[in-house]
Symmetry: D2
Subunit: 368 residues, 4 copies
C-alpha cells in the first residue's frame, strides 16, 4: 500500500536510498526449481550500471548483487529471494546544499509535503538508483519466462531528443552506449550528446520495448488488463511521461478498417493492437512505446524556493545522466518482464480447466 | 486478482455482462457520512448513456441505478454500497452469428483462449457497457472529492479522427454531443461523423481529463505513483491505446531547461509535469491525455477465422458507436476520480504525524 | 481493505444490511466451465435458513438467490458471479427502540465509535444475516472442490451449552435441527433448548468442521498458513470466540512423543496435526474446532448506556436464535470451503513445475 | 500471495532460511517521523534470543540487527525499513542426515510436496528462526503504538505442559526464563523442564498476550475483524494450534446473561468479549490466549519414511527448545503489535470524517 511493492503473485518489494547503506529487494513468488546464481542477475545489472560511457552518469558503483535467501544448491526453492546491493560511491557532499531547497523537476517538493521529512542525499528514495533493484528482480523474471515459454524481452532507443533512431536490427543495440538499433547513427548521437552536455542541458528520449512469444490468454478482462498493468509498470519508472501500446497515439487518426487487425488461418494480418486485445494477450508480439522527460538535474541556473518559501536561484551540479532515457532501456525491459511473469502465474491459477482446441495463430510482430 | 476490482482503500468490484440480467458493482471503502442518493449517481450515468444523439449507439438503455446497501437515512454508513443497473435492451439476436467467430479488433479471440468459454452476446463481459458501472462508482468518488477538497474533475475531446478540437472553454463541453470544448467546431464534427458512418467505418479519438485543486502530497514514491495509477486506470478503459501525463510524448524532444517547471513563491512557473513529480501530486492541476482507437465493430467486410481455424469474411452489424472515444469522456473522468479518492484515503492513513510548515504553492494549471 | 472481501484468487465481496433492500455478493475468480445454477446454491442456503424449527429465529426469509452474472448456458464463464438475495421480512419496528442505545454483547457500541453512524435496524451490517451470503458463495466453492478433487466438507455440533454431543455418524447430522451427529441425544437437546428459552436466556456452542480428501501441499509457509487462514475465516463468523486445529488446546498438555504424528508407508499413524504441518496440508483430514458465544440478544433486563452516556436498563426482544451456534454449522462449512478453494488456486499458480515422485500417504482422519 | 508478507498498510515482508546467509525483512508503511535506532529493536530481539537459559535451544546467535534503509538522522522517513540479521551459528552438519527423510511433526513432508525441493538445513524456511524477524518488525510497531496511543502489549506463559501458572504480577515476567508471571512457581517449572529434557521429550504450552489502551473503533466489520486478524497472526506462529479471544472456549458453556458484558457510565462491567465486539475494538483490554504444541524435534526414536516411501526410524538430535512455547511469548507480542498497527492505520484512512460525542468507556481489563 505504501508503494514499494509490485506484482500480485510474483511480488517485488524494494527498499533503499541512493546514499544509504544499501538498496535491494525481496522477490516473493518465484516458482521453485529455477536455476539461479548471482551471475544471472549481474549481467542485466551491468547493462544499466552507471559510468560505462561518457554519455551517462560518472558515479562509480560496482552494483554487485548478493543473494541472501531462496536459493539452495543453485536452484530456487519457492521461498523469498532477497537481493542486496551495497552502495559504495555515495558522495553526499554533492547534495548538502539542497537539503532545504526544492530542485525543479524533481520530487523534492512533493516528497517534502507528503512525508514532512526526507533524505536529501542524492534524492534519497526518489533517486533513479532504485531502478537497479528492478533490473535485478527483472533478470529473474526474464530467465523464467525464457526457460518456460521462450519469451524474448528486449528494448531499444527510438528517439534521442529531436533525433529519431531507425530500427536496423537487434544486434546493433548491444554494440553502442545508446541502445540504438542502428550503428550508422551512433556518431550523430555522440555529437548530439556532447553538445547537450556543453550547453549544461539535458534531453528527453523515447524507447520501445517488446516481448516476443508471449502465449495467448494472459491478462485480465476489466481492471488488470495486461496493457494497463504494462502502462502502470512503465509509468512507475522515474521520468516516464507517456506510454502507448501497439499503434498507440497514432490510432487516434486511424479508421477502424485500418486499425482492426484481421485474422487469417496463418495469423493476424497486422499488429496495430500491439499484441493485446480486450486486455488479454493475442499471441502476437507485445509492443510498448515509452516517453521519457529530460533529466531534471542540470547545471544551468534555475528559479526555485526554499522550505520557508523564499525565492532563490540554484544550479544542480553532481554526476547526472544528461539523458536518463538511455539507461532506462534495461529498466523498461525489467518492468515488462515483471509484469508478464505475474500474469503468467495468474494464468496458471485460473486456467487449468481450459482445453481450447483452436490452433493458436501469430502473425506479424511489429505494429507499424 | 481476477481483474474485476480496482482500488485498495476505495474498492470497486464490478460484475455483469452486456446481455445478462444486470450489471453493477460493490463500492467498498466509501467514508461514512457522505450524503448520497440515486440521483447523485444518475446524473453522470446520463452523460454516458447510449442513444442520446445520432453519433453514438442507438441501443436504448435507461441505465437506471438502484442503491442496494450502504446508505441509511440519506447518508453513507461506511459499509459497502452495492449499485445495480438492470439491462433492459438486449437484442441478443444481433450477435447470434458471431458465437463461433472472432471479430477483428475485439477481445473475442483472446477471451476464447483465456477462458475456453465466453458469453458472445454483445461481447459479454468485454463490452464497453461495463463502463456504466465505473461512471456510477466514479460519481460517488467525485462527490466526496468535491465536498472534502473542492476537487473538480472534468474532461473533453481534443481530437476526433483527423480533426483537432481547440479548447475554448469548459461551458462548451456540455452543450454538444461530442464533449467538445468549442462550439464553433461542432458542425464540422457532425459532418465528419456522418461521413464516417456512411463509409461504414469508425474513427479514433483523443481526450483530455484534468483534476483541479488536488492537494500536494498524494501518491506513492516508487511503484504506486499517482501517474502510474492514473495510466493504469485509463488503459483499463476499453479501446484506450495510449496515456500521457503533462507534456507527455512532447517531452521527448524537450530540453531539461524547458521541461523542468521552475518554482517561485507565487507558484510553479509552468506545468509540464502535469501536476505530478516523483509520483506524488504537486498541487498543480493534474493533466492526462488519452488515445482511443477506432471502434472495432464496423459493417465493412473483414477477414477473420472461426473457432476451427477456417478463414471467413464477416461484417459486424448491430448498434455501435462510430467513435467509442466520445462516450469515453465521462468514463475517463470516473477513472480519474476513482484513482484520486484511493490516494486521498491512503494519504490519510499515512500522514497524520506530518506537520509541514511550508506554504503550498500552485501556479499555472495547463501544461501547454 | 474495508473488510468486506475475502480471498485472494477466489474473492467474495459481500454487501447488504439486515433490513436494507437486499444482501448479496460478487464472487470473482471462479474458474470457467463449472456447471452452476441457482438450485446448487439454494440447497446450502436452505440449511442455514431461519424459521426451520422452534429452536432458531422465527424470522421468515425465503432467502432466494438470483444469479446476476458470470454464468452462460449453465456454466461459469470465469467472469464475476453476482448473487442477490432480496430481504423480504424486515420488521424494523422491532428495533426502533435501540437506535440510541447499545445492546450488551453486540457490535452497537464499537460500530458507533468506528463509523459515527450506523443502521440500527436488526444490527444493520453486523447482523448474522450477512452470513447467508457466505453460505451462497461457499456453495460454489464446495461444488468446485468436490468435482475437481473429491473434497468433502461437513460439520456438526459437538457441544450445546453444557451438553457434549457424541459423534455417532454423519447421516445423523441432517436428520435433526441441531446438526447433531447423534440421534439419541436429540430429545435431550430439545428439552435443554426449551428450558433456555423459557429462562429468557441463550447458550454457547462448539462445533467441528472437517475437509476430507484435501491434497497435500496446499497453504503457505510463513504468513498465509492454511491453518492461519482457516482460523481467520472462522473468527470472522459472528460470535466465534475460539478456533483450534487438530489437537488444538489439548496439545498444551501433550508430550512431543504423543503429539507428533508418525509417518508410515501406509500413512500417518495419527492426526493430532489436524491435517496441516508448517502451514501446509498433509493430505490428512483437516480438523477444525470452533467456540461460539451465547446469543447476545436476550429478553432479560440488562444494564447499558445510551449515546449520551446515561445508564439505562434494556431487554432485547425480537426473533432471535437462542443459540447462534446451531445455524453456524453451514456457515463454518462455507468459510472452510472458501479458504480451501483460494489455496487450491494459489497452489495451481505456484506449482506447475513441481514433479514429486513420493507417493502421497494419508492415514487416520480424526485427530482424537 | 506466496505467504511471506503480513499487513495491508504496515507491511512486513520476511525472507531467509535458518542456515542461509541471513534472515530479515522489509517493513513498509511505517509512518515518518518516528525516532528509531537499532537498539530499539535489539531489546526485543534479545528477549527471544536462543541460548539465554538451559531451558531453551543452545544455538548461539548474536541476532544483531542492521537497519539498511528508511531511517535518516535517527527518524523514520516513511520509506521502507529493511532489517538484516546475519546467521552466524549454522551447524549444518546437524541436519545432513535428514535431507531425504521427513521428521514427524515437522513441515518436511508438506514442504516437499508443495515445492518439490527444500532446504533441509535446520528446517530451512520453516524454522522458528524466522520469528526473529517478526520480533524485530514488531518492535517498531510497538514503539509507534506506545508513543501515539500509550498502548502496552505484553504476554506471559499461563501453562507449561500440565502445570498451570498463576498470574501474580507483570514484574515477575522479566525475572525468570519462563515468562511466568509468578516467581514462586519458577523452581517447579525448572524441575519440570529438567525432567522433560531427561526423558528426551518435549511439552506444549499456553500463553496469554494482551494489549492495553487500544482505542475504541479499530477493526473491520465482516471479514477483517480485529479478532480474526489476531487469530490469523497467532496461528501463523510456528507450532500454534489454537487461539481464543476473551472468554474463548469457556464461552461455549456460558449463558448469554453471563457472557454479554454490560455497559455502565463508568465502563463495561466485565470483559468476556476480550476487548472486541463485532470485530471492532471496544476500548477494553484485548485478551488473547494461544495454545502451542510440544516441540516436534525430540531425541526419542520415532517412525517415519524417506522420500521413496520406505519405512525408517529416526531420532532428531540438534539443539532444540524442549518447549517452543516459552520463546513464543515475545513472538506473540510482536504479532499482536503488527496486527494492531495495521488496523490503526486503516482507522486513520477511514475515519477522519467521524466526530462522535459519546465519552469512551473502559471498564475491567481482564476477561476472567
Amino acid at each position: 500500500m505504501s508503494g514499494n511493492s509490485m506484482g500480485l503473485l510474483f511480488t517485488v518489494t524494494s527498499f533503499g536510498e541512493s546514499h544509504g547503506p544499501a538498496i535491494g529487494c525481496v522477490v516473493d513468488g518465484c516458482p521453485p526449481g529455477l536455476e539461479l546464481c548471482a551471475e544471472d542477475i549481474q549481467q542485466d545489472l551491468d547493462r544499466r550500471k552507471p559510468g560505462t560511457s561518457r554519455h551517462v552518469t560518472q558515479r562509480r558503483e560496482a552494483d554487485e548483487v548478493e543473494i541472501l535467501s531462496g536459493v539452495y544448491e543453485g536452484r530456487t526453492t519457492g521461498t523469498p529471494i532477497a537481493l542486496l546491493i551495497r552502495n559504495t560511491d555515495q558522495r553526499s557532499r554533492d547534495y548538502g546544499n539542497i537539503a532545504d531547497t526544492f530542485r525543479p523537476g524533481h520530487a523534492d517538493y512533493s516528497y517534502w509535503h507528503k512525508y514532512g521529512v526526507r533524505d536529501p542525499r542524492g534524492g534519497g528514495r526518489s533517486s533513479a538508483r532504485e531502478t537497479a533493484v528492478r533490473v535485478a528482480a527483472g533478470a529473474i523474471a526474464k530467465k523464467w519466462l525464457t526457460e518456460k515459454f521462450g519469451i524474448v524481452i528486449r528494448g531499444h532507443l527510438t528517439q534521442l531528443g529531436e533525433i529519431e533512431i531507425p530500427f536496423t536490427g537487434w544486434p546493433h543495440v548491444a554494440a553502442n552506449p545508446f541502445f540504438a538499433a542502428d550503428d550508422a547513427i551512433v556518431p550523430r548521437l555522440e555529437d548530439y550528446m556532447d553538445s547537450v552536455r556543453k550547453s549544461l542541458d539535458s534531453v528527453g528520449a523515447r524507447l520501445r520495448v517488446v516481448a516476443e512469444n508471449v502465449p495467448v490468454g494472459w491478462g485480465e478482462p476489466v481492471y488488470d488488463r495486461l496493457d494497463a498493468d504494462i502502462a502502470w509498470a512503465m509509468m512507475n519508472i522515474n521520468a516516464v511521461k507517456g506510454v502507448e501500446i501497439g499503434a498507440g497515439f497514432a490510432s487516434v487518426a486511424q479508421r477502424g478498417s485500418e486499425h482492426g487487425d484481421e485474422l487469417t488461418p496463418e495469423g493476424f494480418a497486422s499488429n496495430h493492437a500491439g499484441g493485446i486485445l480486450g486486455g488479454i494477450s493475442t499471441g502476437q508480439t507485445i509492443e510498448v512505446g515509452v516517453a521519457i522527460k529530460p533529466t531534471s538535474s542540470i547545471a544551468q541556473p534555475r528559479r526555485s524556493i526554499d522550505k520557508a518559501g523564499n525565492a532563490l536561484t540554484m544550479e544542480t551540479h553532481g554526476r547526472h545522466d544528461p539523458c536518463v532515457g538511455i539507461r532506462a532501456v534495461p529498466v523498461a525491459e525489467a518492468m515488462l518482464a515483471l509484469t508478464l511473469i505475474d500474469h503468467a502465474l495468474r494464468h496458471r491459477a485460473q486456467n487449468m480447466d481450459v482445453a481450447v482446441g483452436t490452433p493458436r495463430i501469430a502473425g506479424p510482430a511489429r505494429s507499424i
